[in-house]
């Protein structure tokens, strides 16, 4: 903190530098800022790197002191065991289907409903919106017993629709799209399109979707990560031996289904890798999306 204070002092003494540096955001970070940030970066990445290291070793090596800090030669062997014995292959495919469907459904339905709430007039609009906002933060635990009864009644146990359908729409998504479209879509543009005789369908396709696209991308990314990592309801609705998602398969590993720690780490690595790759490729957009979402939401 010392360097921050001296920076502040220098700000006050020289008026010319104050002009140039202006407010907080233009100020360059000192050595201390870099040191702390690097520390946090290591803290954030180390457990992930170590997952890969542990996955490349074997169980005996992981039981020795000191713990391994570099890669061994067992990575592909362990990945293969996790892929077949822990059902991770099926799990990855299932999760892709589940998270993909949920993302498409949430983005599409949220955009349509969000547009209606933002720009159209209809009866009970305020009341319905209140209902959406009121249930936005209700946790999944609150509906899990009736959902379980429904799934049992319909005979959906261990079928993917049991985890897709309950999560297919999101109240948060509707609210998020509404907030975005209120500002991003000028009412005059809609009126003008109406004057030109555009039907609602054309209006949505040619005006609403293009205007909503940035927010749809953000909502899509957030939804995909959330659906990929969903845990509570899937471990109740699905079983590890049947049609698991990645998280269900990992929970099976946690139950000690395979005692080899290096294989468990290989499973954790397999389940995390797809999202990590997405982060490497689209990290900038995801960061931008979360920050944008924070301001809108």
């Amino acid at each position: 903190m010392a360097s921050l204070k001296t920076r502040g002092a220098s700000l006050k003494t020289s008026g010319a530098r104050l002009k140039k540096r202006g407010a907080g955001r233009q100020l360059h970070g000192g050595k201390l800022a870099y040191a702390v940030l690097i520390l946090f970066t290591i803290g954030s990445l180390f457990p992930l790197v170590w997952t890969a290291i542990a996955a490349s070793r074997n169980n005996t090596r992981l039981a020795e002191t000191p713990p391994p800090f570099w890669f061994g030669g067992n990575l592909f062997k362990n990945l293969e065991i996790a892929w077949t014995d822990a059902n991770m292959g099926t799990a990855l495919l299932n999760t892709l289907v589940v998270a993909g469907t949920i993302t498409v459904g949430t983005v599409l339905f949220s955009t349509l409903a969000g547009f209606a709430f933002a720009k159209l007039r209809f009866r009970f609009r305020g009341l319905l919106l209140l209902l959406v906002i009121g249930t936005m933060m209700v946790p999944p635990q609150l509906s899990v017993v009736p959902l379980f009864m429904m799934v049992a009644e319909f005979g959906w146990t261990d079928q993917l629709q049991s985890v897709i359908l309950p999560t297919l729409v999101s109240a948060f998504g509707v609210f998020f799209m509404r907030q975005y479209l209120i500002e991003a879509l000028p009412t005059e543009v809609i009126e003008a399109a109406r004057v030109d005789g555009a039907s609602s369908l054309r209006l949505i396709w040619h005006v609403v979707f293009p205007a909503a696209r940035p927010a749809m991308a953000v909502l899509g990314m957030l939804t995909f990560v959330m659906a990929w990592n969903d845990f509570f309801w899937p471990i109740i609705a699905l079983t590890q031996g049947g049609e698991p998602t990645v998280q269900v398969a990992l929970a099976g590993l946690g139950r000690g289904q395979i005692p080899d720690q290096s294989v468990i780490m290989a499973g954790a690595l397999l389940g995390t890798l797809p999202l990590l790759i997405a982060f490497v490729l689209f990290g900038k957009q995801i960061v931008g999306g979360i920050m944008q979402g924070a301001v809108k939401g």
Partner: protein, 342 residues
């Protein structure tokens, strides 16, 4: 952008006067009876469209929302007044408030409530404080600032299950565990993380902290970037140091965001489930041999899917709901107080 938006852009100024161009066109067409009929049909369809399309747009959302969101939420309340067995979930026997009264007599319920509160506290407070500090650092002009932002967000992409499996190994009891080994380097004896009361709660909290600190830092950073520069400039002119600017400009401007993250983290803490489940030996729902880190979420799961009492499980769910409503009211009161003092 195809034809309509470009059309509308040119037409936009005239909308104030009811759109001069279309009316002129319709006058010209009036002579042709076929065109007139077409026009009438079109305007009928248009009125119908204007009236019903809002409902059509919200219908898909509300269909799923009612079936899988609202109905289960309310039905949980109904189920909590019944005896429901896991094996025969459709066989319900009315028991009134007995599930709730049994809950209040159960020591494990109070234990779970206490644990949820303490774990929530030791995971949320340090997490948000660190996030605030991190956001402050990221707000400087930095080389590689995007790299830092992506790096601290990666734990957010890691699932609860994957993260917990890794942390279990790192918090391993004997001295070959990563953390005990590191403690050994500085002369601290190996800690039995899972079996101690506080150590286990600390370890579970550390998973939450690891996953969410970066995410919250980005939320704070976004709010910091929205603070107008001249606030800092005038503070600097008044002779405020960087630290004083942080305390007297940044923090007050962030108050709504801080409140928002507090609420979201509190809700997250109330429903904490995956971390304590997978942290206990063999993913048992007891939350450790002595229930030392069993949260309300785990207790609900244990009652419903291990002790097979779905009715009691619903009663726990509604108790959690009540707690959330209390938090919501508290949030409302605080935000009102903030607005009044601002």
């Amino acid at each position: 952008m195809t034809d309509i938006p470009s059309d509308t852009r040119t037409a936009a100024p005239s909308t104030g006067k009811e759109g001069a161009a279309p009316r002129a066109r319709s006058v010209a067409l009036l002579a042709d009876p076929a065109a007139e009929r077409r026009r009438a049909r079109r305007s009928r369809r248009y009125r119908w469209d204007m009236k019903w399309s809002p409902y059509a747009l919200i219908a898909p959302f509300f269909l799923f929302f009612i079936a899988f969101g609202l109905f289960p939420l309310l039905y949980t309340g109904w189920a909590s007044l019944h005896r429901v067995e896991l094996g025969t979930p459709t066989d319900m026997e009315w028991v009134g408030l007995r599930n709730f009264s049994r809950l209040l007599e159960d020591d494990f319920f109070w234990n779970a409530l206490r644990n949820t509160f303490t774990i929530g506290l030791i995971s949320t407070v340090p997490q948000l404080l660190m996030a605030l500090g991190l956001a402050h650092l990221l707000h400087y002009r930095l080389r590689g600032s995007m790299f830092f932002r992506v790096a601290i967000l990666t734990p957010y992409a890691t699932s609860v299950a994957a993260a917990t499996l890794v942390f279990v190994l790192m918090f391993s009891r004997t001295d070959h565990g990563m953390i005990n080994w590191a403690l050994g380097l500085v002369g601290v004896d190996a800690v039995d993380w899972q079996n101690g009361d506080w150590t286990a709660q600390f370890a579970v909290s550390s998973i939450v902290i690891w996953r969410w600190t970066g995410y919250n830092a980005l939320i704070y950073l976004a709010a910091m970037q929205a603070i107008p520069n001249d606030l800092y400039e005038s503070a600097a002119l008044d002779g405020a140091s960087r630290w004083q600017q942080f305390l007297h400009v940044t923090i007050p401007s962030l108050r709504p965001t801080i409140l928002f993250t507090c609420v979201v983290s509190t809700i997250g803490a109330t429903q904490l489930f995956g971390e304590p489940l997978l942290f206990s030996q063999g993913a048992s729902p007891t939350g450790g041999s002595d229930h030392q880190f069993q949260t309300l979420g785990l207790y609900l799961y244990e009652q419903g899917w291990f002790n097979q009492h779905l009715g009691r499980s619903s009663a726990i769910a509604w108790t959690m709901f009540l707690i959330l409503v209390l938090i919501g009211l508290l949030n409302w009161a605080i935000s009102r107080w903030i607005r009044r003092s601002a």
